[in-house]
């Protein structure tokens, strides 16, 4: 083989390698999801369990604001009350309402988001509509509970906080590169 031919062979190998690495970038997405699943890192969508007996701290008031959003699905989604005032350690239940405005059946998944961020460590949710996917028939309306408690260990400088949910559509061709929010 001449030098030029050998060069072309090397180039081809390197090009194939580069294209494979481009694919590898995308392959990292399911890989990370698998790792998170195995390591149990993303447990937003699992119910918490209460191990110890927690005392209600009646000397302290917290305001929890409730927020609801949808992303790209024909639903109307709102909390039944804008906010609740609770004590740390107290078990509370709030209701959300969701309405399918379209005349087709739609499956949605809600993903929670907390503010301030550190609320995530102190929020214990025993029940939530976000733990499963929600399937709504055409024009169906559904009321759904969230049962939660905020631990008294929440730093004392936090008194107002927000729990927010966003619904996105499952199994449509547009919205399914699937974070951990696959139906469970």
């Amino acid at each position: 083989m001449s030098v030029a031919q050998e060069n072309t062979v090397i180039m081809k190998k390197l090009l194939i390698f580069s294209v494979a690495m481009f694919g590898f970038g995308f392959a990292l997405v399911p890989l990370y999801e698998k790792i998170c699943e195995v390591a149990g890192v993303n447990n937003l969508l699992k119910a918490d369990t209460l191990t110890e007996n927690i005392q209600v701290d009646t000397s302290r008031w917290l305001t929890v604001e409730l927020d609801a959003n949808t992303r790209g699905l024909p639903w109307q989604f709102k909390p039944m009350q804008a906010s609740v005032r609770i004590h740390p350690g107290e078990m509370v239940e709030v209701m959300y309402e969701v309405r399918n405005n379209s005349d087709r059946e739609v499956a949605g998944q809600a993903i929670p988001s907390y503010s301030p961020q550190l609320l995530a460590q102190h929020l214990k949710k025993l029940e939530c509509f976000c733990f499963t996917k929600q399937v709504l028939k055409p024009n169906e309306v559904r009321q759904m509970p969230v049962q939660f408690m905020i631990e008294p260990s929440l730093p004392s400088n936090v008194s107002v906080m927000t729990i927010s949910y966003t619904f996105f559509e499952l199994n449509s061709d547009s919205a399914d590169t699937g974070g951990k929010a696959k139906p469970i």
Binding site: N7, A20, F26, G179
Partner: protein
């Protein structure tokens, strides 16, 4: 290029001397020469000038940043514009200034140092270069579109990078193009080094600059495609309804950081390994001793490259990883300091008992060793999880990476330019101006960045246009340093232009301690060199 050639024995490269009869050897004239050239030296020159102009553009952005930070409060610009400046300063310096400069060096030096007539794929070499100006144009013109240039940081973190206007799309396209250019360049360099060495030039006889570039080029083909994939996912999240990184659609913004830094950390080594190579050429020359521990240098370079692929999450110690993962990345990161230390000790041992002289390239090399080591140490400090939780996203990190990138990569580039200018132009540069450039850079660099360690430890966040009053003094000092550093670079430009236009004629081997092959060629290096390969014993 060169002006006087009366006694020029090897002047075939200069068409104006010999008239029409050497059109087969010489370059065509005017603009077409540069558009169509496939000559590795021409292309190297274009890379270097492109990189220098991007250095000026990125430098002007830094000027804007430091001017706003000169005093607390908002003086000169909107916060959005400030963020565009930090974002594009980083992007342009990394992809527009440092990386193309090293590719320019590779183009000039690799064929001459291994005894090859040119790069393996001369036409592709031309394409790799000419991809760069359109990418630069995209980056710069993004400032003039509605919404302004991308402003979420050079790291493209979502959610900001999913939300911004079309400036972000231009940034993404620019990165695609720059990535394609780097991959083509690397393929060329790998092939040239693997397959075009002169007879007798075994791998373990290659100059260290060639070795470091070989390893760098492998890193580039390994991680550049991953970056291309990452920004492609951003693009489809922005416009085609996917939700890779969009939490509200089931995606995961933290995953972006993992994939980005899988590219990003090897990338920082892509910017330093060729610098290690340049330093390893300069030090033995001016110490008049062979490089200490040649083979351990090669192995250290390879281990750094391999380790650099498993440390990425040290950029994300605060995202909430499991403790075991954090510990893994902490120890792996600290492990990199070992081969890096091997290199520093080898360089020191190279100088030990050498008969050293302190021409400008040597000054930059010694400056490099001092300051890069400081940057390496602050890197190890950042690698300690509890410390990093304090300093992440503060000016401490800014100080760390400017010590490794400016007084590391950039100083090595300066040193390399001074070292090889006689070979490239055929003239000696002005030594006293060169030394002036070194000392100005050295002083102003430290004035700019040393105080940023203090700012970071005191908690000043990066990427914010305003700051609390207690940071005022150090910021003013840092800004003054930055203006001084920027202006000092005009000295560099002067030296280079002067040297191209004339000056004392350079001998084939102007440095008596130099040993590598390029010094066997006349100065300036003829347009076509090593057409018949040298035999290496």
């Amino acid at each position: 290029m060169a002006a006087v050639h009366d006694d020029h024995a090897h002047g075939h490269g200069h068409g104006h001397e010999h008239g029409h009869d050497d059109h087969a050897h010489g370059p065509p004239k005017g603009m077409m020469r540069w558009l169509t050239t496939t000559n590795h030296k021409d292309i190297g020159t274009m890379y270097l000038w492109f990189s220098f102009s991007m250095f000026i553009v990125g430098g002007l952005m830094a000027f804007g940043i430091r001017a706003e930070l000169f005093q607390p409060g908002m003086q000169l610009m909107t916060p959005e514009f400030f963020n565009s400046l930090t974002t594009n300063h980083g992007l342009i310096m990394v992809f527009g200034a440092i990386m193309p400069a090293f590719v320019g060096f590779a183009n000039w030096q690799v064929p001459m140092m291994i005894g090859a007539p040119d790069m393996a794929f001369a036409r592709m070499n031309n394409w790799s270069f000419w991809l760069l100006p359109p990418a630069a144009l995209l980056l710069v013109s993004a400032f003039f579109v509605p919404g302004g240039a991308g402003a979420g940081g050079w790291t493209f973190y979502p959610p900001l990078s999913i939300q911004m206007g079309m400036g972000m799309d231009m940034m993404i396209f620019a990165v695609h193009i720059l990535g394609a250019s780097s991959i083509m360049g690397s393929i060329n360099i790998i092939t040239t080094i693997l397959n075009m060495r002169a007879p007798g030039m075994t791998l373990m006889k290659m100059p260290l600059f060639v070795w470091t570039w070989l390893i760098t080029a492998y890193l580039l083909v390994l991680v550049m495609p991953v970056l291309a994939g990452t920004v492609t996912m951003l693009l489809t999240d922005r416009h085609f309804g996917t939700n890779f990184f969009n939490a509200a659609g089931g995606g995961d913004p933290i995953m972006f950081q993992h994939i980005f830094w899988f590219f990003g950390h090897p990338e920082v080594y892509i910017m330093i390994l060729p610098a290690f190579g340049i330093i390893s050429e300069i030090l033995p020359t001016f110490s008049r001793k062979p490089l200490f521990g040649y083979s351990s240098m090669v192995y250290a370079t390879a281990s750094i490259a391999i380790l650099s692929c498993i440390v990425w999450a040290h950029h994300m110690f605060t995202v909430g990883m499991p403790v075991t993962a954090q510990l893994f990345f902490m120890y792996a990161t600290m492990l990199i300091a070992v081969p890096t230390g091997v290199k520093v000790f080898n360089w020191t041992a190279t100088m030990w008992q050498g008969s050293m002289s302190f021409e400008t390239p040597m000054l930059f090399a010694i400056g490099f060793i001092f300051l890069f080591t400081i940057g390496g140490f602050s890197g190890v400090v950042c690698a300690v999880i509890p410390v990093d939780i304090q300093v992440q996203e503060t000016y401490y990190v800014i100080a760390h990476f400017h010590y490794v990138l400016v007084s590391g990569s950039l100083f090595a580039l300066f040193g390399g330019v001074y070292y090889w200018l006689p070979k490239w132009t055929g003239h000696m540069y002005d030594e006293s101006l060169g030394k002036l450039h070194f000392w100005l850079s050295m002083v102003f660099f430290n004035v700019t960045f040393f105080v940023q360690h203090f700012l970071g430890l005191a908690g000043m966040p990066r990427r914010v246009p305003d700051y609390a009053l207690q940071f005022a003094d150090f910021n003013m000092i840092s800004s003054i340093g930055a203006f001084g550093f920027g202006l000092s670079q005009l000295v560099f430009l002067t030296v280079v232009v002067k040297c191209i236009c004339g000056g004392k004629k350079a001998e084939a081997k102007p440095w008596d301690g130099a040993t590598t092959l390029e010094w066997d060629l006349p100065s300036p290096a003829p347009y076509h060199s090593w057409v018949t390969p040298p035999v290496v014993k």
